[in-house]
Amino acid sequence: MSKVKVLPCSGIGKVLGLLARESVLMVTQDKCPDQTETLCLAQLVTGDDDVINRIKGQACITMDGCPKQCALKSVEAAGGQVAKSYKVADFMRAHRGEDHGTATALTEDGWNYAEELADKMVEMVNELRGEV
């Protein structure tokens, strides 16, 4: 089975974009490096043939920072099969009042939340690969 493609929006204006980016890096670099990979969203949205070919028809997970869901929309437009799309805010209820940092750097609470988001994605990766 091909590696599951995991893409964040990497929004740069708010901490939500950094949480999306860092949680995806945790999945692809630390937690499931042999089962997942990320692709460059900028290349995807500018129509880079190499990246489009790598994502077309492939199982994908997206993590978006804001409700505009640029990662989800871009992956769908490029022909990726979105198995699950998440938004950073989806699991925020239990974290109300926490300071997660800025778009430049996460706080300890921010890193903990990114880890939680990463674990949600890992669960989905395992499900997709039939490992649960």
Binding site: S10, I12, C40, Q43, C70
Partner: protein, 131 residues
């Protein structure tokens, strides 16, 4: 120093170190070097055309900051808005091998990486102050 707002747009590429450096250099300009007069635009949102991003880039000077020589940010701005006022290709500054190295989590940022960020932001500032 420029008086009016200037847009600085990073590619934020997820597959290479250059993408991470682009993002950090732009944030540094916004927070430390030119706070209050710098605006950044979210590249995927810009391309989706789902906000005022394209209008901003038509009406204000923009500087693109790309992590690799594919220059996605520059190409997108020029396709959908207007010619950029200046562009940075990080690959040309820190070298291809480093720029295309694995993407970096900010928790693994070293002094060496911070020097790259400073190097890139210095180049952005040269363009910035010429506008």
């Amino acid at each position: 120093m420029a008086e009016k707002k200037i847009g600085v747009v990073a590619c934020s590429g997820e597959e290479c170190l250059g993408g991470t450096i682009s993002r950090l250099a732009v944030r540094k300009i916004m927070e430390k070097d030119r706070p209050g007069v710098t605006t950044t635009l979210c590249l995927p949102l810009f391309i989706a055309g789902d906000g005022g991003e394209r209008e901003f880039a038509k009406n204000y000077p923009t500087i693109s900051v790309d992590g690799c020589s594919k220059c996605c940010a520059k190409r997108a701005i020029e396709k959908f808005s207007a010619e950029v006022s200046g562009s940075i290709d990080i690959e040309a500054i820190i070298g291809k091998e480093l720029a295309l190295d694995a993407p970096l989590s900010t928790r693994n940022l070293t002094e060496h990486h911070q020097k790259m960020v400073d190097q890139v932001s210095a180049e952005i500032l040269k363009i910035y102050d010429s506008l």
